[in-house]
């Protein structure tokens, strides 16, 4: 074994590295917590934890300035594994540490997995409404819907990222190309009559000439909402059909006819379809008597299974989510104007069991180890 390898191994098995990594992780978590005030919790996770490095703009360059969650977590994992391979000796006096560390390894791996596979959506339902999809809280898609058949919609969904890059889309389902002409991650859309000074719009069709699009700063805060906008040109084999403005703020899809077929074009939140649908039967909002303190929010919903039939009624309320078909539905918000609209958060996290197992292992390991210490201490004192 070369001397060089031995030295490197020496670094990786050392407790000194452990302490340094723990200190680095404390600073990382602290910094990320403070930054939440500006960035909101989602952007903070991407910037600090789901990254190898925390980067900052220096001039025009984006430079790594601090190790990110993946790097620190990864190094801790290497440190822990190599310490157990090369340094620790098996012995009953270290049982607790072995168990706790095994749990910790599982926890770190589990967090890595859940960071990758966990998905969040939300489902907004008015009383009596039924939906078979939930919507992304952050991402949008350009839906081009072939609505020729009144019984059936054929949808081509183009992700927001392709609009941002200006990627031209040609699909075998569509008799035309879709050419993004401009994209704003957040923009205000107003009627031209309300924005007299607005510059001329490149849009020629649909609502396009009637509205003005004003780009806005992206809002990262938790309550903030971003409404993307784009100009999209539709180009057929014989030339342009026109340029449309698309934005979720327009409310309804815009329609046009081409080659004997009817199309609708709409920029909307990315949808996640489920094989079953959910109906909101009743939303309730209770407060404590004589106060404005919220006591409970609850949504009485009906799950309509794909095979038909009456389905089943479920009450979702605070601290009592519905787990169904690999998804968790929990009561997240409501419409304070009407008190008749619920917002359910929908989470898919296939690795949800890992933290339970790993935390139980760590707790057990700590208890065993400290009992061993305590017994030794008591024995010494008696002696």
């Amino acid at each position: 074994m070369s001397e060089y390898f031995r030295q490197l191994r020496g670094v990786f098995v050392s407790l000194r590295l452990t302490v340094v990594l723990l200190a680095l992780s404390i600073v990382l978590v602290f910094w990320a917590t403070l930054d939440q005030v500006h960035l909101g919790v989602w952007a903070v996770q991407q910037k600090f934890f789901h990254s190898l490095f925390v980067t900052a703009k220096v001039g025009d360059l984006r430079l790594p300035i601090y190790p990110g969650g993946y790097l620190i977590g990864g190094l801790l994992l290497v440190n822990l594994l190599s310490a157990h391979i090369y340094r620790f000796k098996l012995g009953w006096r270290k049982t607790g540490i072995w168990i706790a560390h095994a749990g910790l390894i599982l926890l770190l791996v589990g967090e890595l997995i859940s960071g990758i596979v966990q998905q969040d959506f939300s489902m907004r339902l008015d009383e009596g409404q039924t939906k078979n999809y939930s919507e992304s809280n952050r991402l949008s898609e350009l839906a081009i819907i072939d609505a020729t058949d009144p019984n059936f919609d054929d949808v081509v969904a183009i992700p927001e990222s392709m609009l941002a890059k200006g990627t031209v889309v040609q699909s075998p389902k569509l008799p035309f190309r879709v050419v993004p002409k401009g994209y704003f991650p957040n923009a205000q859309v107003q009627m031209r009559s309300q924005a007299p000074g607005a510059p001329a719009s490149p849009a020629t069709s649909g609502m396009g000439p009637m509205v003005a699009v004003t780009p806005m700063e992206v809002d990262y805060t938790e309550e903030g909402h971003n409404f993307p906008s784009a100009y999209v040109e539709i180009v057929g084999p014989d030339g342009s059909l026109g340029t449309w403005v698309v934005s979720p703020l327009l409310g309804n899809p815009q329609g046009f006819d081409y080659a004997g077929r009817s199309f609708k074009i709409f920029l909307r939140p990315v949808r996640h379809y489920q094989p079953f649908s959910i109906t909101l039967e009743k939303f309730s909002h209770d407060i404590f008597p004589g106060t404005s303190i919220d006591r409970n929010f609850s949504s009485k919903i009906r799950i309509n299974p794909p095979e038909g039939g009456p389905g089943r009624e479920v009450l979702i309320y605070m601290n009592n989510p519905l787990r169904y078909a690999g998804l968790t539905y929990y009561q997240a918000s409501f419409d304070p104007e009407t008190d008749k609209t619920t917002v359910l958060e929908v989470v898919r996290n296939p690795s949800w069991l890992i933290p339970y197992i790993s935390c139980a292992a760590i707790a057990l390991g700590l208890v065993i180890q400290f009992l061993i210490h305590l017994a030794a201490f008591a024995k010494r004192r008696r002696a």
């Binding site: 008597p289 409970n296 539905y329 935390c359």
Partner: protein
């Protein structure tokens, strides 16, 4: 003599605590106390009027006693009686604290007209050197009333600004406006503004009710009617609507023996029902009767009405009345205030034991800690029974529980080591946490209702209790380390054996803290997964708890790796105080996240001061050993 010291010391302290259980004869008349026991519904729960009076006074003026301009004092119950029944008198009591200079100038106050003029020379000197206040901080409603329009206008401007982004003036004006409305809501709770004989009004309404309603019906139907009678009824009705809208104190119990708290209503609502039911609500009449008697100074009939009304409630809602009775007693005993004083005494005795009388002073300290801890246990248990909840439900109760948990560990340490260090730490932490709790109580009812997300007794009992124990033990390790530094640097009492045992205690407590903060944090994750479908959400409070876990793990690994020795361990443990205080309070100050349920500007100042102090102690610990008095070779 010194051998019997512990017995005497603990006995005296115990007597001081238990005399609070018995009413002091000259504090206030028995009828006023009975009035304070009457149940009302406020802040979402049924509580005695006494609690309404005390928490209102704490909110608006930062203390419970009311000082009159002539130097005499009112009890909270007497003050409440005047506010509810003789408002023109109460409007002259100085109970609104205003500290902000901009706000003071808005209400026409300056240094000159606020200056207190003392007659005695001693007090004049005292005012000069700051022992007695030199200027007034408290204003009466009548002093502020001429400026209500300006205050309201400024409040409208400041209110939309997020709480943590407000300037001092904005926070002050929002707070004063809130306090004034709070006061007015109580003033208008059982009788309308400007009424001097509400009982007479109600009795005459009762007398004319049948004719009056008939007249109104006829008027509505367009038939001939007695205009004066109809107008009188409509006039009363409008007055009641005004009352119903201007208070949130639900003083009127439901009819019969309905126990649903949602059925309580305010006096205005109850009076509006008069027209449907054909009779004035008897509870409103009882309050109007009390108002009449109190205003006319008829002590005997006042006491008689309170007793009649009280005993009728007693029969209908025995369970709730029992709770309000205990709560009133709890308020009067002020167990946590007593504990605070005893903890302070315990610390002094523990310190004394290192300087003189090692054994008697040590045992006295231990006895005092045990006494204070028992009283605190009873106090917390009473609160749990009153609320029907686990011990920790808000920031206030977390302070009580952190103190309680730390002191419990200290009692164990003292039983093992018998060197007064456990008692000294207990005294310090017990006193400090209760002082913090006292200041947190200034925000209002400390038994407030739980917001929907947090409303789960199971998780409050597991996650919150365990994680709070983790906080408590991390603080305890830090305090033991502080004792190490202070004794070592400033006294000669830290010999090698004491230093070693202190370091061992710190290490043991850090192990304990690691276990509890980890388990508590993991339970929090499980709660989050059960409620929101995600185990970890990087919420500020979650991150704070995580940082404590990692910090404790760091201390243990640094020690196992030989990276730190005794003094290094001590420094790391002191830094643990900073980490814990930030998680406890700092995260709430960010004003974001699911857990941000308490924010005060003053708290920010104190937190900064605390952190600076800990850093200073760490610097002190890093002085070369020959500068430590304990390790300096004897001259």
């Amino acid at each position: 003599m010194t051998r019997r010291m512990p017995v005497f010391v603990v006995l005296i302290a115990a007597v001081c605590v238990f005399q609070g259980l018995f009413p002091q004869p000259n504090a206030q008349p028995a009828a006023v106390t009975a009035f304070g026991r009457l149940p009302v519904l406020s802040d979402g729960r049924i509580k005695p009027l006494d609690s309404v009076a005390r928490s209102t006074l704490l909110v608006i003026q930062g203390r419970q006693r009311v000082e009159l301009p002539d130097g005499s004092e009112l009890t909270p119950d007497e003050w409440l009686l005047d506010v509810m029944f003789v408002p023109e008198k109460a409007d002259d009591y100085r109970v609104f604290v205003v500290d902000n200079t901009d706000l003071l100038s808005l209400i026409g106050k300056n240094d000159e007209n606020l200056k207190i003029h003392y007659d005695s020379t001693a007090k004049q000197i005292g005012a000069l050197i700051g022992i007695v206040p030199s200027s007034r901080r408290r204003m009466s409603f009548n002093e502020i009333a001429p400026y209500l329009a300006q205050i309201e206008a400024q409040e409208k401007l400041a209110e939309p600004v997020l709480a943590q982004a407000r300037t001092r003036f904005q926070s002050a004006v929002v707070q004063l406006y809130g306090n004034l409305s709070h006061y007015l809501r109580i003033r208008r709770s059982v009788q309308p503004d400007g009424s001097t004989d509400f009982l007479g009004e109600l009795l005459s309404l009762q007398g004319n009710l049948v004719d009056g309603i008939e007249a109104v019906r006829a008027k509505e139907a367009g038939k001939p009617h007695d205009e004066a009678k109809a107008a009188a009824i409509i006039d009363e009705g409008q007055k009641f609507v005004g009352m119903a809208e201007s208070t949130d104190l639900l003083a009127i119990p439901p009819d019969g023996d309905e126990t649903d708290p949602n059925a309580w209503h305010n006096a205005g609502h109850a009076l509006l029902e008069t027209f449907g039911k054909g009779e004035v609500n008897p509870a409103v009449l009882a309050y109007a009767g009390m108002a009449y008697a109190w205003r006319k100074d008829q002590a005997e009939s006042f006491s008689h009405i309170v007793e009649l009304y009280g005993s009728s409630l007693d029969k209908r809602f025995p369970k709730q009345v029992e709770k309000t009775r205990i709560e009133t007693l709890f308020n009067a005993v002020e167990p946590f205030y007593a504990c605070m004083m005893i903890y302070l005494a315990a610390f002094l005795f523990a310190a004394l034991s290192w300087l003189r009388w090692p054994e008697p002073a040590r045992i006295s300290a231990w006895g005092l800690v045990a006494l204070a801890w028992s009283v605190a246990t009873l106090g917390i248990a009473t609160r749990m029974w009153l609320e029907g909840r686990p011990p920790v439900t808000n920031l206030y109760s977390s302070a009580l529980f952190i103190g309680w948990g730390s002191v419990a560990l200290c009692l164990v340490l003292e039983a093992v080591y018998k060197n007064a260090i456990g008692s000294a730490a207990a005294g310090m932490i017990g006193f400090a946490t209760l002082l913090i709790a006292h200041h947190l109580a200034l925000a209002g009812d400390t038994m407030e209702m739980m917001r929907a997300v947090l409303d789960s007794n199971f998780w409050l009992a597991t996650h919150v209790v365990v994680v709070t124990t983790g906080y408590a033990s991390t603080f305890l390790a830090g305090m033991l380390a502080v004792i190490y530094v202070l004794r070592g640097v400033f006294t000669r009492t830290l010999d090698k054996a004491t230093a070693d045992s202190l370091a061992r205690m710190v290490y043991g407590i850090v192990c304990f803290a690691t276990l509890f903060s980890f388990v508590g944090t993991a339970l929090g994750g499980i709660w989050a997964d059960q409620s929101w479908g995600r185990f970890w959400g990087w919420d500020p409070k979650e991150n704070g708890a995580l940082i404590i876990v990692i910090w404790n793990a760091l201390i243990l690994h640094a020690r196992w790796g030989g990276l730190v020795r005794q003094r290094g361990l001590i420094c790391l443990a002191i830094f643990g105080n900073i980490v814990t205080s930030w998680s406890w309070f700092g995260t709430n100050m960010l004003g974001i996240g699911l857990h941000s349920y308490g924010f005060t500007e003053a708290a920010f100042w104190w937190l900064s001061a605390f952190i600076a102090l800990q850093l200073a102690l760490i610097a002190l610990a890093n002085l070369p050993l020959e500068k430590w008095r304990s390790f300096r070779p004897a001259a």
